[in-house]
């Protein structure tokens, strides 16, 4: 495809290219390739061209068209888009068109970004392979017999396939970073509260965070800078203003202290050997660039997965109660309201969503709350404490993003527990609220992309992006 988001925006801003030509080129690529990949639930051709023309008109009038002028952006289909169907890849939202835009969608548009479509996901973002979609799986552009990861598999695949230089996803337990790793692109989960969740259809409210996908670290920084910042519509939004990260991306890691999380290298949670090999190579690259790299233990991290599978389903069971056939989406008629709700939910939700609603409902039940939800929250506190201790000695931590490269479609879909293990390295950051990024670093024995993960304390995105840029350079 035709270059990075930064380069495209620069061309459009300077009048060297029209936004329309950029968008048409990408729409053509989608038209040619997405039949096989199925990254998109919906391609918003008319809206995209109209937005592109508006950007071109601004350029023609000499107005500032924004830092993302004319850049196509793919949006995960759990972000509300005014008047445009938003499905969460679920039948239950059939026919629903939100009457409002998510805050990130507004910010994208204000920055001149062009929505080209809504991307596929595991239903309500519950999954690690994008196979749990009511509209069929997304394929990995590097090998279409493989999954793209998930739940933001459509967004990751869209960027990997060159359908859009940028995409937005959401990350509750690794749903940006894991598909980024499996598709060989950059994926950033910002600090909880850094990007407004207003208009993101909630999965687990205390863990959900919107973040960027891009082919390059610099592009990820560019998109992050556009969407980050306080939003009065999200009470958990962080009020502090921060300097943009993009200008400092290439400033290196000299003197930076980086800790390899020992449990995630050769401890109880060790990845496949080829993934471990790339992780060591990444550590060596950081050392070569002037960072001080050492191993560090984050003992409570091994309990992350268990705690996550209590907290996330618990919150989901409540968040998804509203899909009851009364106000919007699918309704299956019945003689009574209660029966209508039951039938609508039975027909509208897929098996993984039902499984998590049941798990979460159980975890919150009277008599079980303390043993499950309460205890999981205490584990969460322990994880934060262990991370805090690690961040007294290190600026960033390093781990694999996923234990394996992309696996075959269907390989894990019958075994939820094995599927859940995909997120073992990514979940602790969500529980702690900390930012983390996955950056491609070489390939595995199967020739498929491997991602490594950089983790940092709250609001360390700028530092993290600098280190990611060093790895990106070293992996070339």
């Amino acid at each position: 495809m035709s270059g990075t988001a930064a380069a495209l925006a620069a061309d459009v801003r300077a009048g060297r290219r029209t936004a329309r030509s950029v968008v048409e080129e990408h729409l053509a690529a989608i038209g040619a390739g997405d039949g096989e990949i199925h990254a998109f639930n919906l391609v918003t051709t008319d809206e995209a061209l109209a937005q592109a023309d508006a950007v071109d008109a601004k350029v023609a009038r000499g107005e500032d068209p924004g830092p993302l002028a004319g850049v196509p952006v793919a949006l995960k289909d759990n972000l509300c888009t005014r008047g445009v169907p938003t499905t969460c890849s679920s039948r239950i939202l059939e026919g629903w068109r939100p009457p409002y835009d998510a805050t990130v969608v507004q910010r994208l548009a204000a920055a001149g970004g062009i929505m080209v479509g809504k991307t596929n996901l595991d239903e309500f973002a519950m999954g690690s392979s994008t196979e749990n979609s009511a509209f069929g799986p997304t394929r990995n552009p590097h090998d279409t017999s493989r999954v793209p990861g998930g739940s933001s598999g459509g967004s990751a695949a869209a960027v990997a396939a060159g359908f859009a230089p940028l995409a937005l996803g959401s990350d509750t337990g690794g749903s940006i970073r894991q598909p980024a790793a499996l598709c060989g692109v950059v994926g950033l989960k910002p600090t909880y509260g850094r990007v407004s969740r207003y208009g993101l259809v909630a999965f687990a409210s205390s863990l959900d965070q919107i973040g960027p996908f891009a082919a390059t670290v610099a592009d990820a920084a560019l998109l992050y800078d556009v969407i980050a910042g306080h939003d009065a519509l999200d009470s958990t939004s962080i009020p502090e203003a921060l300097a943009p990260t993009a200008p400092g991306v290439a400033t290196g890691v000299d003197g930076l202290r980086v800790g390899i999380i020992s449990e995630m290298l050769d401890g109880s949670l060790a990845p496949d050997p080829d993934v471990a090999r790339q992780l060591r190579a990444a550590a060596a690259a950081l050392t070569a660039a002037g960072a001080e790299v050492d191993e560090v233990s984050v003992p409570a991290a091994i309990y992350g997965l268990s705690a996550y599978y209590l907290i996330a389903p618990a919150e989901a069971s409540s968040n998804l109660a509203r899909f009851d056939g009364v106000r919007y989406g699918l309704r299956v008629d019945a003689p009574t309201t209660g029966e209508m709700q039951r039938r609508s939910r039975t027909a509208g939700f897929g098996p993984e969503v039902k499984r998590r609603i049941m798990l979460g409902t159980y975890a919150l039940s009277a008599g079980y709350y303390d043993a499950y939800y309460g205890k999981a929250q205490r584990v969460r506190t322990l994880i934060m404490r262990d991370f805090d201790a690690a961040y007294e000695r290190f600026d960033l931590l390093l781990s694999p993003t996923s234990p394996t490269t992309a696996f075959a479609v269907g390989a894990k879909s019958d075994d939820p527990l094995t599927m859940y293990l995909n997120d073992v390295y990514t979940i602790p950051s969500n529980l702690a609220g900390h930012p983390a990024i996955s950056v491609p670093f070489g390939t595995g024995d199967d020739g498929l992309p491997v991602g490594v993960q950089l983790l940092g304390p709250n609001l360390s995105e700028a530092t993290m992006l600098r280190a990611a840029a060093v790895l990106e350079e070293a992996a070339k």
Partner: protein, 496 residues
């Protein structure tokens, strides 16, 4: 639910129960009051908080619980909650919103955001005008639900052809004020609600309208034999006025006693007051109560009010009814539980009364006028100075009680430019000096010798006869005489 009468209440009507409880029985009442807070917008969004209107007009994505919408706490609602807490002597504490999960079509998210284990207002109390103190367990913020109308069938959700839902009320801020079971009569319960309403209105937290539902009361009623531990309680819902609340409580207590005395047992349950039949009807049983799966609302932060903010709010509180009663009682030198004091405060005439007393008016006479002669439109426009001047004229004997009332009425109508003297003289209410009064009385005695002899001879008939003489003197003096002065002179002339 069918229309048949419940078997556990047969034979009892509110009429029977109004006679009072059988000897040895006591009722125990605890009230939960939901007050809609007087904010411009809803508890968690910018949609308008307004009563009535076209259905589904005061809505937005958050009110409808649309996917992706988020709650943002209304600061004014928190301020009102703090104000109420301070007025009820509650501890203002850090609080947390939780989700109360259950499916209901008029609840847009199928959970209600409510404060659960950590309410904003902790322990407090409310003093009733009769001096009884009622404990406040807590008061917490929560969002209201929408309203369903079930069309067809019995008008209930089951069996209805279809239901219409209006979400205008959804998300309206409520403060649930939970009283301790310290009340022992329906009358006290009504007084508690009136007093609470008075406070809410005085501090501007709520308009306190029971009829419009901006104030809603659930009554927990149980009975026990005096000295026994508390019995099992029933929660009575759907009481829309003080009168129906009193009736419902009396009925319910009588029902429970009847049940126990006939060998039955009270079941802990929710019961609905049916105004038409004057009964409470069984609702859902608490034993099968839903598991609400409360957990902290992750979309909202804990509320930790700045102590300085709390103090600023405290400084803006007006005098509350109990303080106003104390102030008036202090000024008048009577107990705060005195009926005239309670009534003066109830009618918001305590400023006037205190002002008049401070301007030198006789306290008891002032209170008497407030209690008996000022229950009229415009009484609040009376100035303390004019009122005091009038009372002083009366006490000084320049005006009779009858004349005083007439002048008072004129004053309230805005006559005499607010000067009672001007009104009195315009009406020809010349003060009678004692010489001419005695002369008038002597003339009356001379004309009624028989009666006078009986008056002198038999002290037992003097009460009755003095009425006769006063009437005659009034007639002779065209009402200018002071009844008390006439009696005194008659006694004196009769020789004590």
């Amino acid at each position: 639910m069918t229309a048949t009468m419940p078997t556990d209440g047969v034979g009892i009507t509110a009429l029977d129960s109004a006679a009072g409880l059988p000897d040895g029985w006591e009722m125990v009442i605890g009230l939960e009051v939901h007050a809609e807070l007087a904010t411009k917008t809803k508890l968690f969004s910018g949609a308008r908080n307004e009563f009535g209107g076209e259905p589904n007009r005061h809505i937005d994505p958050t009110t409808l619980g649309l996917p992706g919408s988020l709650p943002v706490l209304n600061e004014k609602a928190v301020e009102h909650a703090i104000r109420v807490g301070l007025a009820l002597n509650c501890a203002i504490q850090p609080s947390v919103f939780s989700r109360k999960n259950y499916f209901y079509p008029d609840m847009p998210k199928d959970f209600q955001i409510s404060q659960y284990d950590l309410p904003i207002d902790g322990e407090g109390w409310l003093d009733l005008p009769n001096g009884k103190r009622v404990g406040i367990e807590r008061a917490h913020l929560e969002e209201d639900t929408g309203k369903s109308t079930h069309v067809g069938g019995s008008g209930r959700i089951s069996g209805a052809e279809y239901s219409l839902v209006d979400y205008n009320r959804a998300g309206v801020p409520l403060l649930e004020i939970v009283g301790r079971p310290d009340l022992r009569s329906a009358e006290d319960a009504a007084t508690y609600v009136s007093e609470l309403r008075e406070i809410l209105v005085a501090i501007g937290a709520s308009d306190g309208k029971l009829e419009e539902g901006s104030m809603r009361v659930d009554a927990n009623v149980s009975v026990r034999r005096t000295g026994d531990p508390f019995g099992l309680r029933c929660e009575i819902k759907n009481v829309n006025s003080l009168r129906s609340m009193r009736r419902a409580i009396d009925y319910e207590a009588a029902r429970q006693i009847d049940l126990i005395e006939s060998g039955g047992r009270v079941r802990q349950e929710t019961r609905h007051w049916d105004e038409a039949s004057g009964r409470t009807l069984s609702g859902r049983s608490k034993e099968q109560a839903e598991d609400y799966r409360y957990f902290p609302e992750p979309d909202l932060l804990p509320v930790v009010p700045d102590p300085e903010w709390i103090e600023r709010i405290r400084a803006t509180l007006p005098l509350l009814p109990a303080q106003r009663r104390a102030r008036l009682a202090g000024a008048a030198g009577v107990p705060a539980t005195e009926a005239s004091v309670v009534i003066a405060v109830e009618r918001h005439l305590d400023d006037l009364a205190v002002g008049a007393i401070e301007a030198g008016a006789d306290p008891l006479r002032t209170l008497t006028h407030v209690e008996h002669n000022l229950a009229v439109e415009g009484a609040d426009k009376l100035t303390a100075r004019a009122f005091a001047a009038l009372v002083t004229m009366e006490v000084g004997g320049q005006l009779t009680a009858t004349q005083t009332k007439a002048v008072l009425a004129e004053l309230i109508d805005g006559g005499g430019d607010g000067d009672p003297r001007a009104i009195a003289s315009a009406k020809g209410y010349e003060a009678m000096d004692s010489g001419s009064l005695e002369g008038a009385i002597d003339t009356v005695i001379a004309a009624n010798v028989d009666q006078w002899e009986r008056f002198v001879a038999d002290p037992a008939v003097r009460g009755k006869l003095s009425g006769f003489f006063i009437g005659q003197v009034m007639k002779a003096t065209k009402g200018k005489a002071d009844g008390k002065a006439v009696t005194a002179y008659l006694q004196q002339r009769a020789g004590g």
